[in-house]
């Protein structure tokens, strides 16, 4: 198992490399550049900006430079002049030679002039990750119990009611549920602050809007999967042995039925944690989703690359985690 994990982690870098290459190629093929604005920038100014950010080099050199800044550790003076070009994620002071080893410079933002990709992620990832976790908790706490009820009371009113609620959740996108929640609880009832970030109250509405929409998926997957498992031989055996129904369902059936649910949860968490543009806009949350979408429209190349690579890392790790959980959920699964 240990070797399997190590191998997967090594492969992660290969995947990240391919993702970076694809993203770089696509974003540079898209027309428009980071400095094109409504008003025409004088050619001289454009040249100055391109020189500052190395955009005057041939494309492959730009890519190599970019990847080099991320991948290759550098030994530098202890004090670098403060600049958006010198923001490294990892800085290790080496006392013997009195230098600092720096690694992973994801570059500056072209549009937020005083920000770097590292600083954007440092500021926004905790926000998005908190909201994402909240949304996931909501989704799991609504979705899985609803799914269990629906499966156990299959084709009864309970089932139909639970599933109808789930369908409402999935058919009402955050674009609608967000403003409605904001209007009802923020404006009319004044129970919660309509927008903003910083306290638990601020998180309730966006987490609920995001989580409710995703809970349907979990509810229905749980239902389907549990029904499947309940007909397995070993469940019948367990029942026949006279085990308590709760233990049969709670320990044996549910654990096995969680496989498709967990498969969905992994990447779902990765996506929720890296930001939801719509929810952030509706609830005025300074999260990563906004920066990601805006960076694409602004052609803010380093931010596009940085956020994509971060999302990729999250997805890969989440999927690896899911694969490991499979083994725990179903010991028969083995990775060779």
């Amino acid at each position: 198992m240990g070797r399997y994990i190590v191998r997967r982690l090594l492969q992660m870098f290969l995947v990240l490399f391919v993702v970076s290459l694809l993203t770089f190629a696509t974003m540079r093929a898209v027309p428009g550049g980071p400095f094109s604005t409504e008003k025409n920038l004088p050619p001289r100014a454009l040249a100055q900006l391109e020189a500052k950010y190395n955009l005057d080099e041939p494309l492959y050199m730009q890519y190599l430079h970019y990847m080099g800044d991320i991948a290759i550790p550098r030994l530098t003076e202890n004090r670098l002049p403060p600049s958006v070009l010198n923001d490294y994620l990892i800085n290790i002071y080496i006392p013997g030679i009195d230098k600092t080893l720096r690694w992973m410079n994801f570059g500056p933002s072209y549009k937020s002039v005083s920000q770097t990709v590292n600083s954007i992620i440092k500021n926004t990832l905790p926000v998005s990750a908190t909201l994402g976790t909240g949304a996931l908790i909501v989704a799991v706490f609504i979705g899985i119990p609803a799914g269990i009820i629906a499966a156990l009371k299959r084709n009864t009113r309970w089932d139909y009611a639970a599933m109808s609620v789930a369908i409402i959740g999935v058919s009402v996108p955050v674009i609608i549920s967000g403003p409605i929640l904001r209007y009802v609880f923020g404006v009319q009832l004044k129970w919660l602050p309509p927008t903003g970030w910083g306290s638990f109250e601020h998180m309730i509405m966006p987490a609920f809007a995001l989580g409710f929409a995703e809970s349907a998926r979990l509810a229905r997957l749980t239902r389907a999967s549990l029904l499947q498992v309940l007909n397995e031989d070993y469940i019948r055996t367990a029942r026949a042995k006279g085990l308590h129904e709760r233990i049969v369902i709670g320990v044996h059936a549910l654990k096995n039925a969680m496989i498709p649910v967990v498969t969905t949860l992994g990447p779902l968490f990765a996506f929720l944690a890296t930001g939801s543009f719509v929810a952030e806009l509706i609830f005025g949350i300074p999260g990563m989703g906004k920066f990601f979408v805006v960076s694409i429209t602004n052609r803010d190349y380093p931010v596009i690359m940085g956020t994509t690579l971060l999302l990729a890392t999250f997805v890969i790790l989440a999927n690896l985690f899911v694969d490991l959980v499979y083994v725990w959920l179903d010991p028969r699964i083995q990775y060779s």
Partner: protein, 348 residues
């Protein structure tokens, strides 16, 4: 192929003819079980009606989807005003123009919302079918192969999945729109592939590239899900039994593994349909949706969401249409799942 091989296996008791008959029965049984499931039948009827709506939109829609009566902007019939507590008609000191000409009200340019929902079903249903189609065709076989063969095959396929999971679809969509919509104008370049794509996109109201974007990403989730299910299923007793009986890999895969994993897959797929429609709404929201004035539920929902605190009907009615589709697909999906589950035989 599988049948021929298995027939020659020594120790196999079932003959080819029997196998066929059994398969026929399997499908017939499934159909019977499906027909007995009231909710599934209801779902099927709704989907059928929606398809008819999309086909006969011209005949069904009371008005044109594009003709504006500017002075009737945001007008609503009395019953809609009564329905939503926030809306108040001008007569009652509110702001809503009352006009019973529009069954569900008019949008901000004075276009009939009902007609736009009817026409919008075309694009939204198309999206509802394209996403699952692509993911069934690509995702299921790839996931099946990855889970079943394991090892290197699994590794390669799953790494590709990882790449597609993380790659920003938004970039691809912007690129395609920019390239094809920008590079090709009415004149020149007739006959080239790019021009054909441009024309196709235009004919579809700007949906082609959204389809491609949806298609590109839709299969990855299903591929992983299939793989996860197969990983578990291939170690089950009946697969081991089949293997010990000498069944071939292909036969095991399609005959024994596939039917056992299909339930959650169908459910997952019916669930992703609103995800695709939501994605289209999201694209409209950030300004990359369908060409106007072509209506789609996603763009109606996203436009209507802007005015939801003044004219909730403009977003809620398209959302109800979406709910209806979801409702239908979900219960049909559940019905199919139950019907296809081989262990459900004789349960009902």
């Amino acid at each position: 192929m599988t049948a021929t091989q298995s027939r020659q296996e020594p120790g196999k008791i079932i003959s080819l003819a029997e196998e066929h008959r059994q398969a026929d029965n399997l499908w017939l049984d499934a159909l019977k079980r499906l027909a007995r499931n009231r909710m599934a039948v209801l779902g099927l009827i709704i989907i059928f009606l929606l398809i008819l709506t999309a086909i006969f939109a011209e005949q069904l829609a009371p008005k044109s989807y594009e003709v504006q009566v500017l002075t009737d902007n945001n007008a609503a019939p009395q019953w809609v005003i009564d329905l939503f507590p926030v809306m108040k008609s001008i007569e009652d000191g509110g702001y809503v123009k009352v006009s019973n000409n529009y069954p569900l009200g008019a949008d901000d340019l004075g276009r009939d919302i009902l007609s736009r929902i009817i026409y919008g079903s075309r694009i939204s249903l198309a999206i509802a079918f394209v996403g699952p189609l692509v993911s069934m065709l690509l995702g299921v076989p790839l996931g099946l192969a990855a889970g079943f063969f394991g090892g290197r095959v699994d590794n390669i396929i799953m790494r590709i999945v990882d790449i597609f999971y993380a790659f920003p679809t938004l970039l691809i969509i912007i690129l395609m729109m920019a390239y094809f919509r920008g590079a090709f104008n009415e004149s020149s370049q007739a006959g080239t592939l790019g021009y054909t794509l441009y024309l196709a996109d235009r004919a579809m109201g700007g949906m082609l590239f959204i389809f491609i974007g949806v298609g590109l990403t839709s299969w990855v989730g299903l591929a992983r899900l299939t793989r996860g299910e197969v990983l578990s299923a291939r170690e089950r007793d009946y697969v081991l039994a089949a293997r010990s009986l000498g069944a071939t890999r292909w036969s095991i895969m399609f005959r024994h593994v596939m039917p056992n994993v299909v339930g959650p897959l169908i459910v997952a797929e019916t669930l992703t349909i609103p995800v695709y429609i939501r994605y289209e709404a999201f694209l409209s929201f950030i300004g990359l949706g369908v060409n106007r004035p072509t209506p789609s539920w996603g763009s109606m929902i996203s436009d209507g969401a802007q005015t939801i605190s003044s004219y909730p009907n403009q977003a809620i009615f398209p959302a109800i249409a979406l709910f209806l589709v979801m409702f239908a697909f979900n219960f049909l999906g559940d019905g199919l799942r139950d019907a296809l589950d081989p262990r459900m035989r004789g349960v009902d």
